[in-house]
Amino acid sequence: MSKTNITRRGLMKTGAATGAGLALPTIFTSGAAAFTNEPTGSSVKLGFNVPQTGPYAEEGLDELRAYELAVEHLNGMGDGGAMNTFSSKVLEGNGILGKKVEYVTGDTQTKSDAARASAKSMIEKDGVTMITGGSSSGVAIAVQGLAQDAGIIFMAALTHSNDTTGKDRKANGFRYFFNAYMSGAALAPVLKNAYGSDRRAYHLTADYTWGWTQQESIAAATEAIGWETVNNVLTPVGAGDFSSYIAPVLNSGADVLVLNHYGGDMVNSLTQAIQFGLKDKVVNGKQFEIVVPLYSELMAAGAGENIKGVYGSMNWNWQLQDPGTQAFVKSFGEKYGRPPSGSAHTAYVQTLLYADAVTRAGSFNPCAVVEALEGFEFDGLGIGPTLYRAEDHQAFKDVLVMKGAENPTTEYDTLEIVEVTPVEQVMYPPDHPMFGGPEASLGECNDGA
């Protein structure tokens, strides 16, 4: 399902991965390459694999906008955006290692099998050196495994499940986005302040890896502040009508509803919970509350009025005031006439980080890139100093706690930043039981040779 934006035949890839069944038909074949899809022409191709259909499609489309902007900046067009504020100064706007950046896009359809097929075609047909994208942890984990086996780099975009850098971590995969554990760690103190420590929570959870790990993380974090978890009900992704899951909530004695839903599902479940009048009820002598642990601007826009006063967490928000954020928001806003979403920010940053790592390593070899990214500390790309931890390839930085704004002035400031949670508070050891425990391992980096 991937389509190329470049049709010049002369730019066909020359690398041919021998032995892995990845041989590419090309007239310029010059023999065996040192690693999968080694770019030998004047350009390098990246694969942007995002959902363009399905419940997370809107997030995918915003990611694509950001990827296009990042490619522009890498190739020296536009104002350079956050490349100017990035603490690493090796990117010069002449592509990556002097090679012009080209890209192919694919539609993951928010389904693991479609995402794998699309990624496979990018690797085998288009010869990409790196794949990024995915707006679902199920998809991200599937594509990360594929990238590991094929010997290319996977820069995960929107994936929040603990498993991506937990039990399913891979040497060739890196995640900039925060995860469910971090959401719980950041949210719990704020929830305790706002709603007290004597609360009974009812969870509705999307029935796949992300939902499970988020529910586990939020339940653990809220139980640590004294809350009780009354019930956890798994709901199918894309269910549409959640009323039969919402109706029994009040009767359960719960006074908080936690919606472990994302994208279109969250828009529907929150809207229906409001229709049931949950937020107007008083249970156990307390005002009933709703919590949406993982927020996004696009979901907030979809849910409209209903998110007022609802707490959640985010990886990044355009209202931050640091120079990296401002530079990115300015170039994105001028190009597209709207502020970028958090998904767009992650997509943009991951593309720059890959280009930077290749340049610092002086090679497109995935193992060299892995080495350059492991333990890499940087700043100036938004939300402050960040570390790519070597042990699990998870980025560590501050986490935002958000709340639905009471009086938004435009459709873009429907969420407000309540707190910037310092990174120390969301830190955990790499062998944490929620992340696969001591058995979890990155394995060996694979360059496909």
Binding site: T53, A57, A247, N251, Q275, G302, N306, E334
Partner: protein, 343 residues
């Protein structure tokens, strides 16, 4: 007991939607003999009529508010809806607030027209073809309509709220002697159920008590004989197609506040509605309605945690399971007549 009443109530609105779609499907199948896989798309178009009416009513011009700035530091452009500047802020806001009920007035002619165009323009040419051909062409049409909607409205669900007067829920439990907050039911869903009952009643009354309806029923029973009596049955059937489209359309309009419209909602409902038609009995209107409510309520029961913990995933398959059991015990469905699709 309270949980059971709760799920029966809950099944009613979903059941209403299934019943309304299945009713249209059965009407079309009974009159024209066409298996219309584009019927879910008509439901979806109805929901998007509600979205469009809401957007039209909220059409705004921009006023520059120099006291505030936007995210790039430019003066903020504030959107003021035209209706608010024409009728004053209060009346204007009320009109926008009531856009979903207002959309019904728009949806009826729009859907009749869509129905006529669909029948005359495309489906007419497939009457003599096998059912497989009809299914393919109507399924294709559904995909085309779905992609068109996606092109114009995007892939995300679009929130289409009901009027403010209907937010919140009604405490049914307190009325019949349970503790407060045990059995609650959102007002809008109550409205939806009442609305569905009225529409279903109207369709039956139309078929039962008007001459037009009588001719259509005669045509459904024996098309050839009615034709030999000199009655232009084709034209009446075309009108029935339009009516079926309008029923699906207004069902969609009213469902928009319950389920934020998205481009694939039609497909989601279509498959279930087909099961409803088959369970109810091909060609039987009362069967379609009864099966719609039955399956809606069963689906609600299957979503209960108590049930799900015994048989995980039952909420996903219950409808198909029931369909299999009913077809095994009553091969013609609940109220199916002999001779339909059995040639």
């Amino acid at each position: 007991m309270d949980a059971i009443i709760l799920q029966i109530l809950n099944g009613l609105d979903k059941g209403s939607a299934y019943a309304l779609i299945a009713l249209g499907l059965t009407l079309i199948f009974g009159t024209l003999g066409v298996v219309n896989f584009a019927h879910g798309a008509l439901f979806m178009i109805g929901a998007f009529v509600a979205v469009s009416v809401q957007r039209l009513l909220s059409l705004s011009f921009e006023q520059i508010d120099s006291t505030k700035t936007d995210f790039l530091g430019n003066p903020l452009k504030v959107k003021v809806p035209y209706v608010e500047s024409w009728f004053g802020p209060e009346v204007g806001a009320t009109i926008i607030d009531w856009s979903v009920p207002l959309a019904i007035i728009v949806a009826i002619p729009v859907m009749l027209l869509v129905g006529f165009v669909m029948e005359r323009g495309l489906i007419k040419h497939f009457y003599k073809r096998p059912h497989a051909d009809q299914i393919l062409v109507t399924f294709g049409l559904a995909i085309v309509l779905q992609e068109l909607v996606k092109y114009f409205f995007g892939a995300n669900p679009i929130q289409t709220p009901a009027p403010d007067a209907f937010t919140g829920s009604f405490d049914f439990g307190a009325m019949i002697g349970f503790d407060p907050n045990v059995i609650i039911y959102p007002y809008w869903r109550l409205v939806y159920f009442g609305f569905a009952a009225v529409v279903i009643g109207a369709v039956f009354a139309f078929l039962q008590f008007t001459t037009f309806g009588m001719v259509v029923r005669a045509g459904m029973a024996d098309r050839e004989t009615v034709g030999l009596l000199g009655i232009n049955i084709d034209r009446r059937f075309t009108i029935m197609f339009g009516i079926a489209a309008a029923v699906a359309g207004i069902a969609g309009v009213m469902y928009a506040p319950i389920l934020s419209p998205n481009y694939h909602m039609g497909m989601d409902f279509l498959v279930l509605s087909f099961v409803v038609v088959v369970v109810g009995g091909m060609g039987s209107l009362p069967g379609a309605v009864a099966a719609g409510f039955l399956l809606g309520i069963l689906q609600s029961f299957a979503s209960m945690n108590e049930v799900k913990s015994v048989i995980p995933g039952i909420d996903q398959v219950i409808i198909y399971l029931v369909a299999i059991i009913i077809l095994l015990t009553r091969p013609r469905g609940l109220m199916g007549r002999a001779g339909v699709m059995e040639e």
